[in-house]
Symmetry: C2
Subunit: 239 residues, 2 copies
């Protein structure tokens, strides 16, 4: 029964793509969680491990892309299968970037620890990363279950991450004003916060891909992916 | 002659994708150049125009993605055509992000102009953006001509952008240390510089896509896309 055999091999290929995306997601989430842990606990060995794990995600992205193109060429999939395969390419690219952002946080661990971190800042960063990681985890579940409703609700929650990021941005500017010795460390923390906010944006991208895979339609109303800090001014310093 | 007709229509579709990518590239380059001009000349009207143009890129990306998937489903392209079509989807995503980064620079124009900008900073940012825009322009030419050699040489030049960005980062930290009244504006300039550095990274991404489209191989040695500022420390302030 060659027809059945072909279908089965094809199904295996699609399942392989889904499984690799899921593995990439787990790895990316782990890297981000560990980078935050390293940042909070000044754990440079853990930071180093995160940095070294990034190649695994790069390799996984290349493998997924190659496999996806092979499957398209060989199977000539139609409609929803084609969208799922194209979606895998897109999501793999987002997850590779999430790993880069985790690595970038890990690389800042030493620079940040020139300053004793105020508890509110640490808590703010932890909260921000928990939200971003929850978004990432849920949106990958939405991809597994092809749930367009879940994708839409995840996309809308990105506002919460943006709001917390903006408040951290303001707080970090204030610490710099209060004591110029905090400037270097606070600047690196600003970039860490920005990286976490970007992880939320990648979850939003993935939500849009999931919606497209599930429905064949694109979410057309623009959700701005840049941050809301453009006009944040710190309180003036006392002269 | 239906066969000829089909081939011609298919060629038209491929040309349409290439033309739209090229138009997106022109628009994204224009947005970035204008955002820098607005930043340097404190031109808030120009900044506003950049912000409003972003929807055009979002729309173009969606159109290109939709068309690409339709062409794959209808024509079942093999090998190099398939890579070109998948490449269009990837490049459109990169160009959409370049537009977002230009918009983000434009949004910071007001915050930055609370501070008189030292000439060296302005010149540094101009130089950085000229390099990034040259990379972007050349990599889109490389896509048009399917030149893998050009793609490789563009990818290697990203180091230059990273080096200038790192030096600007250091200079901005120093200005903040010297006068805490500069902190807000310098922080926004830091993010502007970071955004330009990211535009260079997107040119690098596109170079990798062009190489893949032209050769069917992926550039395997990792070129880190994150920046080199992670350990930059500003000179200590005088107590």
């Amino acid at each position: 029964m060659p027809a059945t055999h072909t279908v089965t091999a094809y199904d295996d290929e699609l399942r392989w793509l889904m499984r690799r995306i899921s593995e990439m997601g787990g790895l990316a989430e782990g890297m981000v969680a560990d980078s935050l842990k390293a940042l909070i606990e000044a754990d440079t060995a853990l930071a180093q491990r995160v940095i070294s794990e990034d190649v695994l995600l790069d390799r996984a992205e290349r493998e997924i892309s190659e496999k996806a193109v092979l499957v398209i060429a060989k199977r000539q999939p139609m409609a929803s299968d084609l969208r799922e395969i194209i979606g895998s390419i897109r999501i793999a690219a987002d997850l590779e970037r999430v790993g880069d952002l985790g690595k970038n946080i890990a690389k800042r661990v030493i620079a940040v620890h020139t300053m004793a971190q105020p508890k509110s800042l640490v808590r703010g960063l932890e909260h921000l990363s928990e939200l971003a990681l929850t978004q990432l985890k849920e949106v990958l579940d939405a991809f597994s279950s092809k749930s367009s409703d879940l994708a839409v609700s995840i996309r809308e929650r990105d506002d919460e991450i943006d709001a917390i990021y903006t408040s951290l941005f303001r707080e970090l500017l204030t610490y710099m004003m209060e004591d110029p010795r905090n400037i270097t460390a606070c600047t690196h923390l600003l970039f860490c916060a920005k990286n976490i906010e970007r992880i939320g944006d990648h979850a939003t991208n993935i939500a849009e891909t999931v919606f497209y895979v599930a429905t064949g339609e694109q979410l057309s109303d623009e959700r701005p992916k840049d941050d809301d800090t453009a006009n944040v001014m710190a309180p003036p310093v006392d002269d």
